[in-house]
């Protein structure tokens, strides 16, 4: 793998480039601004993590890239470029050509992600509709892929129905399906959230192995900091629909710049060193995303908030080599302003 410095200086455009993305959900109470001014890149063969609390918009971001949003969602600004295609303007037919070919996805809940009345075999053959080859060849490829994701006895198990597999096995099957189409970018929406802890580790290891072996890019959405630290090259921290900080995993985890990232890391039970009986929490609640608002989104819960946080939206401040954060506190001394 190339170093972070080398990567940030690469002249080739990133595989996925999201710039200033704004997305609203229409609701009876008004428009919910679910994504606000979101910008991030996923480079070829790189794993990009997206972390945040529930409701921070990280899954919405994944679905926006896939074009699988609910009917009441509307992109109001920004751009999503993937592999030379403008995903905001692409026709439904052209999008379908990309999905299941250059782009594929694994979902949060493996228990319901597979069709209960069709065999694994027929589902795995059907999703290769963009690929050439006879059904026999597709079946062979499916069996090979099942073997690779660690389904024992895949030759005969492929004829079984989803309910005959455990949750962990089903997620392996979902991963096999998503990789079977040889995607350039795999979008993983909390693939381990519905699984218990030991399985979670297994799945993360599996994904990491396959990623290093095959070399696809990943947009990895998770609220589990440990999984992100282990699997990702870069990470974007989302809060209430905004990316508050992003950069190389090593930099962010060692030197978090944004107060929210710091609070998030402080709350991760895996990182707590001292003995304690109470887990730390971030006080306050995620603000309502209804209507327009000015100022820093995190100011209500931020221990360091000052007057500027109310008046002005923080811009991106570049720190170190790859790290970018949106916080007014960074607007002096060592910081090179954007």
């Amino acid at each position: 793998m190339t170093s972070d410095t080398a990567r940030s200086q690469t002249s080739a455009p990133p595989l996925l480039e999201i710039r200033g993305l704004n997305l609203d959900f229409g609701s009876p109470r008004g428009r919910i601004h679910a994504l606000r001014n979101v910008s991030l890149d996923v480079r070829a063969t790189q794993v990009m993590g997206v972390v945040g609390e529930s409701g921070s918009g990280k899954s919405t971001l994944a679905y926006t890239v896939m074009g699988l949003l609910a009917e009441n969602a509307e992109i109001t600004g920004g751009s999503i470029a993937f592999d030379g295609h403008d995903l905001r303007k692409v026709s439904p037919a052209a999008r379908r050509k990309l999905l299941g070919d250059r782009l594929s996805m694994i979902f949060q809940d493996p228990m319901t992600a597979l069709n209960p009345v069709l065999t694994i075999e027929s589902q795995m053959i059907a999703i290769q509709h963009h690929q050439g080859g006879s059904p026999g060849e597709k079946r062979t490829r499916a069996i090979d892929m099942l073997k690779r994701v660690g389904i024992p006895d895949s030759q005969s198990r492929i004829g079984a129905y989803p309910h005959q597999f455990s949750g962990g096995m089903r997620q392996r099957i979902c991963i096999a399906m998503a990789l079977l189409v040889k995607p350039a970018l795999l979008i993983a929406d909390e693939p381990t959230t519905a699984l218990d802890a030991t399985l979670e580790v297994q799945i993360i290891h599996l994904l990491k192995e396959l990623q290093q072996e095959i070399g696809f890019s990943v947009l990895f959405v998770s609220h589990h900091l440990g999984a992100v630290a282990e699997f990702c090259d870069r990470v974007a921290v989302m809060y209430a629909g905004e990316v508050v900080e992003q950069g190389a995993v090593r930099e962010i985890f060692h030197n978090p710049a944004h107060p929210y990232t710091r609070a998030l890391l402080a709350c991760d039970p895996g990182r707590i060193r001292e003995r304690t009986r109470s887990l730390p929490t971030i006080t306050g609640e995620v603000p309502s995303l209804l209507g327009s608002r000015q100022g820093c989104i995190f100011r209500d819960r931020c221990p360091h908030a000052f007057s500027r946080c109310v008046e002005e939206n923080p811009v991106e401040y570049h720190l170190r080599t790859t790290q970018v954060a949106r916080c007014h506190l960074l607007d002096h001394s060592q910081v090179i302003s954007a």
Partner: protein, 312 residues
């Protein structure tokens, strides 16, 4: 599976036994003399006595019941004194006509309702969806015999496109004769199935596995027909089994209107002539038919849904 079939059999037997016992009790509770009703006021006491003996009515109630159930075990539903033939023969002779009418009407209903239901679900809240919704409620509400008489009036009497009465002879002719009656029976179900399918289709389209196949760029048409319909159709199949009772009721009227032979025509005729053995036989056969139909629909459901298959 075996346990399930046993349960079904027990259910069928219990219901039939209860039905027959109730009818027996009611025959005896009827005010007046059955023989005089059957033979008319001019019957001589000897004729009455003979009829009583033939029908077994001279024996105590318990013996009558026992004889009847004993016969039932050998497939004997009793004896019709009017035509001097076994009741089983008469009923089974008419059964195929009713079955083909019911099957044809299910085909009609399915052929119209499945596309309508899918369309309504996919284009939710469109003008067409609202029209289908109103149509659904209307076709459920309008009684089948009114539908049948109007179908007869329009297509057979006024337009003269289709034959008005009878069951026809030869395969093609029978099919043509089946068109209008089965439409009249089936149309009441179009709305019902379309409505049911719309609801289950909407539910299915919101499920996660549909999102999965969409994420693989599968076309909407294939998503609906190949991935959603096999699941969304399941409640409809269940209802089809239960709804055989409803279809049988509709068939009674439609057979009378189109002067078709069949179970419905038979029971109406038997009721008019107070021919109790035939009435009893028909009730028994139809009750059994309904239990069989629900069993068949359960089995079809099991064939379509591997999860149910394992439970049986």
């Amino acid at each position: 599976m075996l346990l399930y079939l046993c349960k079904r059999l027990v259910l069928a037997v219990t219901i039939s036994v209860t039905a027959v016992t109730l009818l027996f009790l009611m025959i005896h509770a009827v005010p007046g003399d059955i023989a005089s009703i059957l033979l008319g006021p001019r019957a001589t006491p000897e004729m009455k006595a003979q009829l009583y003996q033939q029908m077994g009515l001279d024996k105590p109630l318990v013996v009558q019941l026992a004889t009847f159930f004993g016969g039932l075990l050998h497939g004997d539903l009793g004896f019709d004194v009017f035509s001097q033939r076994p009741v089983a023969d008469i009923v089974l002779e008419q059964l195929p006509y009713t079955l083909e009418l019911i099957l044809a009407s299910i085909l009609w209903a399915a052929a119209i309702a499945i596309p309508l239901g899918c369309y309504s679900a996919v284009r939710r809240n469109s003008a067409m969806d609202h029209i289908v919704g109103v149509m659904a409620v209307s076709t459920i509400a309008i009684p089948s015999f009114v539908m049948a008489v109007y179908a007869l009036l329009i297509f057979a009497v006024s337009l003269r496109w289709l034959p008005a009465i009878g069951a026809g002879e030869g395969f093609a002719d029978e099919l043509i004769h089946l068109l209008l009656p089965s439409f009249a029976v089936g149309v009441g179900w179009v709305g019902y199935i379309a409505r049911l399918l719309r609801a289950s289709m909407l539910e299915t389209l919101g499920e996660n596995h549909i999102r999965t196949v969409r994420a693989f760029g599968v076309s909407e048409w294939r998503v609906i027909t190949r991935y959603a319909l096999p699941l969304a159709i399941l409640p409809t199949v269940t209802i089809l089994g239960v709804g055989i009772a409803w279809l049988l009721s509709a068939a009674v009227f439609v057979e009378v209107v189109f002067a078709r032979p069949g179970i419905g025509a038979l029971i109406v005729q038997a009721v008019n002539s107070r021919n109790y053995p035939i009435v009893m036989g028909t009730v028994l056969v139809t009750t059994f038919l309904i239990v069989i139909a629900t069993t068949v629909s359960d089995l079809v459901n099991a064939a379509l849904d591997p999860r149910i298959r394992e439970e049986l």
